[in-house]
């Protein structure tokens, strides 16, 4: 076990991954409020798996040794492309001919998960990377992620802030929004694309497990803590940041797998929120 002093002295090791984790935690926490309120938690799970599949597919294509084609496929671009395509499909296609929307999303989740495992089995060179992507066991992040993830977080955060009234309106009462000639399809698709971009970028940097946890647990906890919508957004983003930072800290000092440690911290916030609600009900 590492002492707190040793941890502080090792700042050059944890500074970048913690910054990336905090940025991902904040923006996942914000977007996650819409994920939870729209009851599409399973969509975020499916998207993180599709994103993992995109990265695994890139490793696989690289392993095929197809020369220029393999070199041309950028892991991030392929992952983001597949995830955005899946998100737009989930957002716009609501009628699946007698099959529920949840059924199709479940199908997408299972296909992507199975494909990642199958591809992982075929990639000996990148098997460790596949495990990192799935469970977020990597303790370091790629240098470009230090710029990519915070930039995406700032851009998505700005869009969410500018169009907050509109995203809340469309999520709460889509019928009235259509009646008022709001661009409902564009807003729905935009929200899903933002979830996809954030999920794809954050999954590649941190792993599918913590990203799914950040999208679901901080917003759920925030909804237990407060009944004010604006405060739900603030609390959720704050708990996303704290889950990432504390998760990385405990991972560092206790030598725990990073992604699991971050997800566990998010679980602690959820349990705290649930307990708070139960206590408040009894008082």
């Amino acid at each position: 076990m590492i002492t707190f002093g040793e941890f502080l002295h090792s700042y050059f090791l944890w500074r970048d991954p913690m910054l990336v984790g905090a940025a991902a935690g904040a923006i996942c926490g914000l977007l996650g409020v819409y994920v939870v309120l729209r009851r599409i938690i399973f969509v975020s799970a499916a998207l993180t798996q599709v994103s993992s599949f995109g990265v695994a597919l890139t490793f696989y294509i690289e392993g095929l040794g197809l020369g220029a084609l393999s070199a041309a496929v950028h892991p991030f671009a392929l992952s983001i492309g597949l995830t955005v395509a899946a998100a737009v499909f989930f957002a716009l296609k609501k009628d699946y001919s007698r099959i529920s929307r949840e059924g199709i999303i479940g199908f997408g989740f299972l296909v992507a998960s199975a494909a990642v495992v199958i591809l992982g089995d075929r990639i000996t060179k990148g098997s460790h990377d596949i495990a990192s992507i799935l469970f977020g066991s990597a303790v370091v992040v790629a240098p470009e992620d230090v710029y990519i993830i915070p930039s995406i977080a700032i851009a998505v955060g700005a869009i969410l802030l500018i169009y907050m009234k509109d995203f809340v309106f469309v999520s709460f009462d889509e019928e009235s929004a259509r009646l008022f000639k709001y661009p409902v399809r564009a807003l729905n698709a935009g929200l899903m694309v933002m979830i996809a971009v954030v999920a794809a970028a954050a999954t590649r940097a941190l792993g599918a497990l913590p990203v799914f946890a950040f999208l679901a647990l901080p917003p759920l906890a925030a909804l237990y803590f407060t009944e004010r919508l604006k405060l739900v957004f603030i609390l959720s983003a704050a708990m996303g940041v704290l889950s990432a930072v504390l998760g990385y800290f405990f991972s560092f000092v206790l030598s725990l797998p990073t992604g699991a440690s971050m997800a566990m911290c998010a679980c602690v916030f959820f349990i705290a929120g649930l307990s708070w609600r139960e206590v408040r009900k009894r008082v």
Partner: protein, 250 residues
């Protein structure tokens, strides 16, 4: 009176499948129209076709240019998971005049405050919408509808989840809004007595039987027409919720 909505030779339905038609109908400014019929009879589909939420299978729906609707959906339309306050819900009514990307102005907020005052929900402004009683929710939704300064107030079973006293209060509120603002009122209701008291024009809809009748209240709210439409007698009372067999409401 000026025409707000006109349905010409319209067939209504979902996904291209016709359920009722042809429908000829005109909604005029300031007029109170009640839409009555059995459950699953196509009342809400007709209403949504008028609003433009459901496209007609055939025919044309003409609406006054830039018409603003104040819409009160059915009880249970909203997800109780949403922690939105009464003030936030009423503010949404103002979005009819504040397009996407634009925040509400001071004048918008004053209008929201006036609407809450008029509907008697100012004291509930900071309460969460989900924590309200059925009557309080309806008052909030009516305040939301009024906040948009609508040309037509559209109510889909507005008194379905309230008690008798609440029903009377809500209907008096709707009537006072109509008189004050000159907005048309289009109301889907299960309660014949309510429709008989407030509506000037009546629409009887039953897609199963292929029935669509539209006319002035004295013409359609007779025991003979209603007995023929609903299939049982209305000799002592117009309200099938209290006197009719099997609750076979409108």
């Amino acid at each position: 009176m000026k025409k707000l909505i006109r349905l010409k030779d319209v067939t209504i339905g979902y996904d291209g499948k016709a359920i009722l038609g042809p429908v000829e109908l005109t909604i005029r400014r300031g007029e109170f129209t009640g839409i009555l019929g059995p459950n699953g009879g196509g009342k809400s589909t007709l209403l949504k076709t008028m609003l433009g939420l459901v496209p007609p299978v055939s025919g044309s729906v003409d609406r006054e240019q830039d018409i603003v609707f104040g819409y009160v959906p059915q009880n249970g339309h909203f997800d109780p998971l949403f922690p939105v306050s009464v003030e936030e819900v009423v503010s949404m009514g103002r979005y009819a005049r504040a397009p996407a990307g634009r925040t509400l102005s001071k004048a918008d907020r004053e209008c929201v405050a006036r609407s809450m005052e008029m509907a008697g929900v100012s004291r509930l402004a900071r309460r969460t919408f989900r924590s309200l009683s059925g009557g309080e929710k309806q008052r909030t939704l009516i305040a939301r509808a009024v906040a948009g300064e609508p040309d037509a107030l559209v109510l889909d079973e507005p008194t379905a989840a309230v008690d008798v006293r609440g029903e009377a209060a809500i209907m008096e509120l709707v009537e006072s809004i109509r008189k004050e603002s000159g907005a048309a009122v289009i109301m889907v209701s299960h309660f014949l007595r309510t429709a008989a008291k407030y509506a000037e024009r009546i629409i009887l809809v039953d897609a199963d039987k292929g029935v669509f009748r539209e006319g002035a209240k004295p013409e359609l709210m007779t025991s003979g027409v209603l007995a023929d439409f609903f299939g049982f007698n209305f000799e002592s009372d117009l309200d099938p919720q209290t006197t009719g067999p099997g609750g076979g409401g409108a």
